[in-house]
Assembly symmetry: C2
Homo-oligomer: 536 residues x 2
Amino acid sequence: MMMNMPFSVPAMLEHAEKYFGKKYVVSRTSSGVTKITYKEISERTRRLASALTNLGIQKRERVGTFAWNHHRHLEAYFGIPGAGGVLHTVNIRLSPQHIVYVINHAEDTMLLIDEELLPLIENVQDQLTTVHTYIVMTDRPELPETTLKNVYHYEHLLQKGDPNFQFVEVEDENDPVGMCYTSATTGNPKGVVYTHRSTCLHSYGLGLVDTAAICERDVAMAVVPMFHANAWGMPYACVWFGSTLVLPGPMFTPKILLELIQEEKVTLAAGVPTIWIGLLQELERQSYDTSSLRAVLCGGSAAPKGMIDAFVNKHHIPFIHAFGMTETSPLATVSRLKAYQQGISMDEQLSYLTRQGFVAPGLEIKAIGQNGEIAWDGKEMGELLIRGHWIAAEYYNDERSEGAFENGWFYTGDVVTIDEEGSIKIVDRMKDMIKSGGEWISSVDLENVLMGHPAVLEAAVIGVPHDRWQERPIACVVLKEGVTVSKEELIEYLVPSFAKWWLPDEVVFMNEIPRTSVGKFLKKALREQLNNHFVS
Amino acid sequence: MMMNMPFSVPAMLEHAEKYFGKKYVVSRTSSGVTKITYKEISERTRRLASALTNLGIQKRERVGTFAWNHHRHLEAYFGIPGAGGVLHTVNIRLSPQHIVYVINHAEDTMLLIDEELLPLIENVQDQLTTVHTYIVMTDRPELPETTLKNVYHYEHLLQKGDPNFQFVEVEDENDPVGMCYTSATTGNPKGVVYTHRSTCLHSYGLGLVDTAAICERDVAMAVVPMFHANAWGMPYACVWFGSTLVLPGPMFTPKILLELIQEEKVTLAAGVPTIWIGLLQELERQSYDTSSLRAVLCGGSAAPKGMIDAFVNKHHIPFIHAFGMTETSPLATVSRLKAYQQGISMDEQLSYLTRQGFVAPGLEIKAIGQNGEIAWDGKEMGELLIRGHWIAAEYYNDERSEGAFENGWFYTGDVVTIDEEGSIKIVDRMKDMIKSGGEWISSVDLENVLMGHPAVLEAAVIGVPHDRWQERPIACVVLKEGVTVSKEELIEYLVPSFAKWWLPDEVVFMNEIPRTSVGKFLKKALREQLNNHFVS
C-alpha cells in the first residue's frame, strides 16, 4: 500500500540542511548576537553527534542539557538524537534537590552545561550518580575554571568531530527522542518521554494555519525556555519549516527582547504571560518598532483580558492564546475566533479569547464532572481529559502514572467548562476544586472576584472538610497595608457574582499566603493548616 | 512513553462534527446549489455507513464511486471507511474497457453512481464481475429509470440508516481507506491504495502555510475532480480543518466557476491548467469579483509562465504551482519563493514559479541520471525518485510495481533538474528522453522552442534508435494551414537555444500527431512508425 517510513527528528534537520541551508539562527550568547546558517548548524550538529559517539554514547542513553536558549542548545536538540541518544532538557529553575532527582532518575550519562550555570551543577555534582562526563558550552576559547570532573569544552569536541557524520537511522518512530520533567505540586518532578513520532506530528500541528502557523518566512523568537516543554516545540518546527529562529540566550530583559524584535524583524514571539507583562511595561517607557510581529503566542498560564487588549488594540499585535502542558508536547488548544464569530464586538472578542480555545486536529478532549461527561454548554464543570498523537501515555518510571493515564486518556488535573464551539475555559485545578454537597465550586472564580476588592492584596480560597457538606470554602485573605475590612463586608462583596452556596463560610486573614518554588499559591499548606476548622 | 493512537479518516469528520458543525459545504448538483452544514453531513454520513452495513459490507471491502464533486460524494469519502470499507473513486473519463478493468480489478462490490452517469455503467454492467449492488445518487425523489439490477436510491437508503451510527474503529492506521487508479500510457490503469495514516498525514501536509495552507477561514473550491487523486486530498483536509468546501458538481463551465467564486467568496480554488485557461478567457469576456481569492492552486501538468503572469499581475490572484501524482497522494512539491528570494524582479519570479518547487516536509527526493545521483545545479538531468509519509509503496496487485518501487523509493518516471534551492523542474518523461551518446536530450525542451516558430502548429520530438549514438532526435511537425517552411529553416531556428548535438537529425512533417485518450502526444506510436529511420 503506502510507505510506512518512520518519523525521525534528525531527518527534520536534514530537510533544513537541503532546503533552508542559507536561512539562519539568531543566537544571543554571553558575548553577543551571532547568526549561524542552517548549513553551519547542520555541520556542527553532525560534529556533535560524532563527538558524542566518540565519547561512547549508547542507543537510548540520556544526555542532559542545562542551558538557556541558544544555537548550541539547538544543536543538542538534534545532535543527541542524531547520535542515537535521548535529549533530557533539565529545568535550570528547579531546586538543587530536584535537579539532582531528575538527572539521577533519567540516568543522564553526560551533561551539556552553560558556562553561566556551572555553579548550580558544581554544587550538586557529588550527588549525581550516573553522570560520567560534563561538557561546557561557552564562547571562550578555553575551558573556564570549574570543579567539575571529566569535563570537556563543547567547541573543542566539535572541532574533533566529523562534519559528515551520518545520523543514527531511526528504526522505530516510537523510540524515545527527548524528555522533560514537569514539576508536581508535591513530591518529585514527573518525567515525560517524547518519541520521534510524537515530536514530528506535534511539529505538523504547529505548522497549521489555525494554530501557530510556523512557516518559512517567519522570524520566530522562542522566549519560552528550551528547558521548558521543548520551548513549546518551536526548535523542531522552525527547523523543519525553515523559519529564521531567534534564541534570546541567558538573562534577557524586556529591552533585549524588544531590540531583537526590532532588529531581526521578528514575526512570531512565544512566551508566558509574565514575559508579555514585562514587554508591555517596557513599551510604555520607550518606543520600539514592533510592526514586523504577525503574532505573539502566549501560553503556560491564562492570559488576562487586559493583556490581550493591550496587544491587540494598543499595539496592533495579534495575540494567540494557547494552552498546553509538558504531557501534551505541549500544544493542546488554541483560542481563535471562527470565521462566523468575526462579527462580534471587540469586547466580546477579547472576552472570548481569554478562553483556552479548542484542540488542534489530531487531538480529542472530553471532561468528566460530578455526573459523568459534561455538556458542552459553557457552564457544567469537569476534569479535562485529552488524547491524541502527541499526548503522553505515562510518566517515566513513575507510580504516579496510575490515576493520571487511564483508558487511553490523560487526566490533566485541570477543571474546565466547554462551550458549544468546543472552546475550553480552565476554571481550576482538580485538587483545588471545592466539592460541596455533590456540586463543585471553583476556587479560582472566587479568588478572582475577591482580589477585585480594593482592600484585598491576595486571596486564596480552599475547600476544607465539613461534616454535612463534605467540603466548604474558606477564603484566606491578605489585606493591603494599613487597610481594614470585615469578614462580612468581603462576603457581601461576593454576593452579586455567585450562587449563595458558593459563598465562603469563613474568611481567614493572614500576613502572607505560602507559595511554591515557582510562585504559585501552596494551597496544600493552607488546607493542612485549616483542616479541622469545621470538623473536630 | 507517548500515546500511539492510530490515525483515522472517520475521526477527521468527527472533529468537524464537534468543532465545525455550523460550517457548511456548498454543493452544486443537477438541481442547483445547496448548503449543507458539517453537522448535517456528519449525520448523513453516519446514515450512509449504517446503510452500507445493512447491505452487508465487510471490512476492507471496496465500494466504488462514479460521480462528480458534490456533497453525496463527500459523504461516501467518509461513510465507506466509516463502515469499514475502502473508497474506490472510479475515474469517469476512462474508456469503457478501463472502467470495467478497474472495477473488476479492485473487486468493488457496490457502486455509488451519479444519475447523469448511469448510461456509462449500464453499458458495461454485464462485464462487471464483482458488483452486486448499485446505488444511484440523485436529487429526484424517486429512482430514475435504469437497466441496472439490484439498484437503490441513495436518499432512501439514508432515510433508513441510523443517524447515530458509530463508525467502525480503526485498529491499524496502515489499513486501507481508499484507492485510485492512475492511467498508464500503455496497458491497464494501475491502482494505488491509500491508508488512514497516509491520508491524515497528507492532510497535515496540505494545512502547512508553505503548501496549500488550508484552514478554517478558507472557502475552498475543489475544481479538480473527486475521482482524480482524491481531489488532491482537499475533501479530507477541508473537513478536518473546518474550511467551507465548495463542490462545483457536474458539467461546470468557467462561468459557473466564476459565479461560485463571486457568490461564495471563494478563497482558494484548485484545478489543472486547462481549468485556469478557461477561467482567464471568461474573465476577458466578462468581469467577476474575484477579490476573495487568496490563491489559485494549480497542478496536474506544468503551468506556463504566461498563465502565472495573467493571474498574478493582471488579476492580482496569487498562484500556487504544485506537482504531484496519484502515487504521491498527490502533494509532492510546491513552487514558492523563499523569503530571501522576494527581492528578485517580477520576470525572474514568474520564471522561477514555472519550476515545480521543493518537497513538503515529510518527503524526500533525489534524482538519478546517467552517472548516478545528479548534482543540484539546475543543469544535470535525472529521474525523480521520491519517498515519504504519503507516497505509495506499490501498485495494487500489479506486476508493474517492480521497477517503479525499489529500495524504498518511488521512481516517478519524470526527468528533472534540481537547482541549489532544491526546486525541481520537470524536463521530460523518462521514456520520452532521448539518450544520445551517453547523454540525455530533453524532448520537451526541443518541442517548446519548435512550437514558438510562427509556422509550427504542433511538434513532438522523439528518440529513434541509431547505430552509432544509441538514439538520435527526430522532430515530428504539424504546420499551420497554408504555411510552408523547410526542414533546414526549422533546425536553424533551434540553433541559438541548444548545443549542437541536441539538434534533431530529421524533421518529419505530418498532418496530425497521434494522441492518447486524455489528449497527450502518443509518442509510442511515433516511435514505432519511425523506428527504422536510422537503422536498417
